[in-house]
């Protein structure tokens, strides 16, 4: 209760500060922006949509690899920051493979990829009990051409926000 109380007080303070420095009619309007933040939309930094689009919900892998590239690590760092700031959410990391490979092996490979992303998030401070993994192998490609252009987008681990403890 005490902790929650402090958070509530801090939140109220932040709100007051924000209000005093901006037009009160556009509550929480971003600096320099002239549109209102629509809660839940990609413009709301606390929304899953923002996580998905601005932070980036997916990382890509090289052929047969589950090692995180520098680009993937940057995106996962952003995911970790977001998850640490938005502690109400839990996530399931979905691992995928391209169609080059057998069904069974790709299921295992997808799990390896999902786990690589999960381990990275944990190393950046996200609690392990907030992060589940599942592999779809090659069952759910997002791009369906049979060239590397599509394959590279299908070899992915997608962090899906699966729940929020607040309404």
């Amino acid at each position: 209760m005490n902790v929650l109380g402090k958070f509530a007080a801090l939140g109220a303070l932040a709100l007051i500060t924000a209000c005093t420095s901006n037009d009160p009619s556009t509550l929480g309007g971003g600096a320099g922006g002239n549109g209102a933040i629509v809660p839940g939309s990609p413009s709301d930094p606390r929304s899953p949509a923002y996580f998905q689009q601005a932070v980036g919900d997916r990382v890509l892998f090289l052929v047969d690899q589950s090692t995180l590239t520098p680009e993937a690590q940057t995106i996962l760092q952003g995911q970790a920051d977001w998850l640490l700031a938005n502690t109400d959410y839990v996530a399931t990391i979905e691992g995928h493979a391209d169609e080059q490979g057998t069904r069974e092996y790709n299921l295992a490979l997808g799990e390896r990829r999902a786990n690589a992303a999960r381990e990275y998030l944990i190393s950046r401070g996200v609690a392990g009990n907030r992060l589940q993994t599942v592999s779809f192998g090659k069952e759910r490609p997002i791009e369906i051409c049979s060239t590397e252009e599509c394959y590279s987008k299908n070899r992915r681990a997608v962090t899906v926000l699966t729940g929020s403890t607040t309404g």
């Binding site: 490979g101 092996y105 295992a108």
Partner: protein, 439 residues
């Protein structure tokens, strides 16, 4: 008799010729056209009554289709026939069948009484004028007429080749519809030739890789119905399924029955690592068989249950290994170029069928259990997941075509690499599992 078997023996000899492991796709052309299929005739079975006429006609056609489908036999079209067979017991006019080069002749009669169907038949060696084996009779119900036809064809096949048949058998598979990125998958079962398709699940959850029990009464499969891949066992007769519980929060997949049907071996993935486990179906207890940081999957028992062949990437790429059924040291058996997966032990015990990926192409192949005499039977953009016919003579597998409109189809191929043919299904099909001969 000698003459009758001649052309088949040519085929057998050919199959035994060692082939060259490196040039997979070329092998297909090596065998093509060399074998001469044995010409046979199946004059429409004689109906005892007018009510039996349609069954007699349909049964005769299915027998012909079964034999022709093997690639080992060639049907002589009925319009070439000189003799009419109007009575099952009348003497066969061998000269008339010799004249059109029919080496094997199948005669029969069909009786229908209410819902009871009786089929009598004889197999003849035309050139020696001898009956091959003895006349036989099968009795059943009218709605089981296709099975009776398959049973007759199995008898003909066995008598002429000396090997068991495979026509009276069923195949479980995944029926597929829709585009690649939102494919609908349903578990289905059908006769080996694509007839009598029955759906066992709806398409609400992804289902993968059904596997028949040794007696054909149950299927193992993997479903996402809980949100993550888990193994289920389904009673085929009652169409009732039950989850096989493994550790919470893990993924389990790639199950296969032990030859006694009492336990299963499967893959369990947790923490980024996939290992092989065994579950006793009586107690539900699982024990670990492998414990390595690499991926171990696609296990398959030897017919005697003493060993397991599986796929592992412990060497850096997926390769095939054999270990004792209770776990322990594994021996690598695949050494060719490329990646090997989904090994399946043949019912005869002498061969392992596998999927091979090399230079952007996929192949179905076979090798001896020590890894020698590797032969590639197919080549395409994506072939995978072989399953053996009950007699170990034919392999069925999944072929997927490339691109945005890519589609999965079931194919079968003789272990010589000849007679590649699609298996007819209502929609797309994948992950076939060939069940045992029915009783």
């Amino acid at each position: 008799m000698m003459r009758l078997l001649t052309s088949l023996f040519v085929g057998m000899t050919l199959l035994a010729v060692p082939v060259f492991a490196q040039n997979g796709p070329l092998r297909l052309e090596l065998d093509e056209g060399i074998i001469e299929p044995l010409p046979f005739a199946v004059p429409t079975f004689v109906p005892d009554t007018p009510a039996a006429a349609q069954y007699a006609n349909d049964i005769s056609r299915v027998i012909s289709a079964d034999l022709t489908g093997t690639g080992l036999f060639r049907e002589i079209a009925p319009d070439a026939f000189i003799s009419r067979v109007s009575s099952f017991d009348a003497p066969v006019q061998f000269a008339d069948w010799k004249a059109i080069n029919a080496e094997a002749l199948v005669t029969g009669a069909v009786n229908v009484s209410g819902k009871k169907l009786t089929v009598r038949f004889r197999v003849w060696d035309v050139f020696s004028g001898q009956e091959l084996g003895n006349g036989l009779q099968f009795a059943g119900t009218t709605d089981g007429w296709r099975r009776m036809a398959h049973k007759v064809a199995d008898q003909v096949y066995a008598r002429v080749t000396g090997e068991g048949g495979y026509f009276d058998s069923r195949v479980a598979f995944v029926s597929e519809s829709g585009p690649k990125d939102q494919r609908k998958k349903r578990l289905a079962i059908m006769d080996y030739d694509g007839a009598n398709v029955q759906y066992l699940t709806d398409s609400a959850a992804i289902v993968l890789a059904p596997r028949f029990s040794p007696s054909g009464d149950r299927l193992l499969y993997t479903s996402y119905e809980s949100g993550r891949p888990r193994i289920y066992v389904l009673d085929v007769g009652r169409v009732k399924r039950q989850e096989l519980k493994t550790q919470e929060g893990t993924m389990s997949f790639s199950p296969r029955f032990s030859p006694d049907g009492q336990s299963i071996v499967y893959s369990l993935a947790q923490g980024g690592n996939t290992d092989l486990w065994k579950m006793d179906l009586g107690s539900g207890q699982s024990t670990r068989l492998t414990n390595t940081p690499s991926i171990e999957t696609a296990p398959s028992y030897s017919p005697d249950g003493s060993r397991i062949v599986f796929e592992s990437d412990r060497s850096g790429t997926p390769q095939l290994y054999i270990m004792p059924a209770q776990g322990g040291e594994a021996t690598r058996i695949s050494f060719g170029q490329g990646r090997y997966g989904t090994p399946v032990w043949s019912p005869r015990g002498d061969l392992v069928a596998f999927t091979k990926q090399n230079k952007g192409r996929f192949h179905i192949g076979v090798m001896r259990t020590d890894g020698s005499e590797e032969r590639l039977l197919t080549a395409s953009f994506l072939d995978e997941g072989p399953t053996w016919s009950p007699n170990g003579r034919v392999i069925m597998f999944t072929r997927e075509t490339q691109g945005a409109s890519g589609r999965s189809t079931l194919y079968s191929v003789d272990i010589s690499g000849r007679n590649l043919r699609p298996v007819r299904t209502p929609d797309g099909g994948s992950d076939p599992s060939w069940g045992p001969l029915q009783n």
